[in-house]
């Protein structure tokens, strides 16, 4: 995927997340982009590691900063005491219009992710994306084995919440099979 297409996919994802009531802070975008790449096999080619609130890509973080510098994205400050959001700026909307083919190619997959996780909060996304990360590394392990692994990696995530997240990821995998 070319860099311009990669940017269009990010813009498309943020717009879809917004439509699905996402807060669209950087954490929300990071986790959604991870799910899009790992679960929906969209070839955005970001390198994710386990870091802040689960899978995290420094490349994506830099790209979001570059897109802000290029006025494709803008920060929206929110009412006290909540953290900031990102929104697609006018130049970003114009860019999306120039790439109809790319938008069409990834629309179903982007919409699926936005629908599934758009309305989730940071802590839920952290658990869910970490569950996907652990599942991608050990697909054949049982739910409990993967939940234990999540709890070991992120001790502030309880085993019970980790179990729920793993089950949710397994369900999403099954559901997404006919789109990917």
């Amino acid at each position: 995927m070319k860099r311009s297409q990669q940017r269009v996919v990010i813009l498309q994802l943020i717009m879809a997340l917004k439509e699905n009531n996402s807060w669209c802070g950087e954490t929300h975008i990071q986790k959604a982009a991870y799910c899009l790449q790992e679960l929906m096999k969209v070839d955005t080619d970001f390198d994710f590691i386990l870091y802040k609130h689960g899978p995290y890509s420094f490349d994506l973080c830099d790209e979001l900063a570059a897109m802000r510098a290029d006025e494709l994205l803008a920060i929206k400050l929110n009412t006290f005491p909540y953290g900031p959001s990102l929104r697609v700026a006018n130049l970003g909307k114009e860019m999306v219009e120039r790439f109809p083919k790319t938008i069409c190619q990834y629309k179903d997959r982007v919409d699926f992710i936005a629908r599934k996780i758009g309305a989730k909060g940071v802590a839920q996304l952290e658990r869910l994306a970490t569950a996907l990360y652990v599942t991608s590394k050990s697909e054949h392990d049982t739910v409990d084995e993967r939940a234990k692994r999540i709890h070991d990696l992120k001790p502030h995530v309880s085993f019970d919440n980790a179990q729920i997240a793993v089950e949710e990821i397994d369900a999403m995998k099954r559901e997404s099979a006919n789109i990917v």
């Binding site: 311009s4 807060w23 802070g25 950087e26 954490t27 390198d47 590691i49 386990l50 870091y51 802040k52 609130h53 420094f58 973080c61 830099d62 979001l64 900063a65 570059a66 802000r68 510098a69 290029d70 006025e71 494709l72 920060i75 400050l77 929110n78 006290f80 005491p81 909540y82 953290g83 900031p84 990102l86 130049l91 860019m95 120039r98 790439f99 109809p100 083919k101 790319t102 309305a119 989730k120 909060g121 940071v122 802590a123 839920q124 952290e126 990696l153 992120k154 001790p155 502030h156």
Partner: protein, 343 residues
């Protein structure tokens, strides 16, 4: 130890041309890792009291961004953040103060004592989820409310140093000429990654060879050395600007491609930098000692610091006047955006 070792894998002249000079798969962080894990250094770690582990030092010196294959727990993440973090890493604090001092400018100064005194480990700021709060408990590095002005000063210092010093167009083009020289100077080979050979080459050897190459037209890299030593650097043809940017955010690339087509690869250089790192937000502990807020909410200054981004197209000084005439005549056609073709 990790902080001291953080930069030991740098090539002479630091970042210049690292990607082109090292063999594939190598960068200065990998070199840093090799040095920390070398037999000579291991002896030092083992003789320390209590003994130190080279893997711990690698983790903290490089952080999760560069030591991707290592697993970090929350505390290791936090400690590495103190050394290499985007917001408050000591590496950043050090290079701003040091470069500012050596460049003879005041832009990079800030009250690092006050900032360090007010650093705290905090949970992240709040994000709502429906009508409730759904917040992660994962800790990160933030400041007490009393330290927010020192944090603003650090981030402003970074902004000024990047716009006024690191991204100054003359500094940037000299970096490119140095990179061109080093590539010719190395020839077919790449920079050595064997530790002994690596440590033998310093800025001094290269400065000396640069002068020799400038004086002898037969030596590799002569033309680039001549540009550096005799100040015949390439001149600006195009700089990113808001008017063109609104027409096409990729304008600089298109100008470069058109200029290369017109004058040839060896007469044109493209350069670009945009700020790395995400939103500059971090948790702030309010005066009640309990509530954790977003720094961007607390500080009107942080929210308004622009991102640093530059794009330059340089041309050989001998063709610059002609190139400017050519560019001004065809500019509109060069930078007009094209729509992606439908299937």
């Amino acid at each position: 130890m990790a902080a001291l070792c953080h930069d030991i894998g740098h090539l002479p002249f630091s970042h210049a041309a690292e990607e082109e000079l090292f063999p594939p798969g190598w960068d200065h962080e990998r070199m840093t890792m090799e040095l920390i894990q070398s037999d000579e250094m291991k002896e030092i770690w083992e003789n320390a009291r209590p003994p130190l582990s080279s893997e711990d030092i690698v983790k903290l010196a490089l952080g999760p961004k560069k030591a991707k294959e290592l697993q970090f727990d929350d505390w290791e993440t936090m400690l590495s953040e103190i050394i290499v973090g985007d917001s408050f890493g000591v590496d950043r604090m050090d290079y701003l103060l040091r470069d500012s001092y050596h460049a003879g400018v005041a832009y990079g100064r800030f009250d690092h004592h006050r900032l360090i005194d007010t650093l705290r480990i905090l949970p992240p700021p709040l994000y709502p989820y429906g009508n409730q709060l759904d917040n992660s408990k994962e800790p990160s590095l933030g400041v007490e409310k009393g330290g927010i002005h020192s944090a603003e000063a650090l981030l402003l210092a970074r902004y000024f140093m990047f716009t006024q010093v690191y991204c100054h167009h003359v500094r940037r083009i000299y970096d490119i000429h140095l990179k061109d020289f080093l590539i010719d100077w190395l020839g077919e080979t790449k920079y050595p990654t064997d530790i002994d050979a690596f440590l033998k080459l310093t800025d001094n050897e290269i400065t000396s060879d640069l002068r020799d190459a400038c004086l002898d037209a037969e030596r590799p890299g002569h033309i680039h050395a001549d540009r550096i030593i005799n100040r015949k650097h390439f001149k600006l043809l195009y700089t990113r600007n808001p008017t063109d940017f609104k027409i096409n955010s990729d304008a600089a690339n298109l100008v470069k491609e058109a200029a290369v087509k017109e004058y040839g690869e060896d007469k044109v250089r493209l350069d670009g930098y945009s700020k790395k790192g995400g939103i500059t937000d971090f948790p702030v502990l309010s005066d009640d000692g309990k509530t954790v807020l977003s720094a961007l909410q607390e500080s009107q200054v942080l929210a308004k610091i622009p991102s640093v981004v530059v794009n330059y197209v340089f041309v050989d000084p001998n063709i610059r006047d002609e190139a400017l005439r050519w560019f001004n005549k065809g500019k509109a056609q060069i930078i007009t955006p094209q729509k992606e073709e439908q299937k």
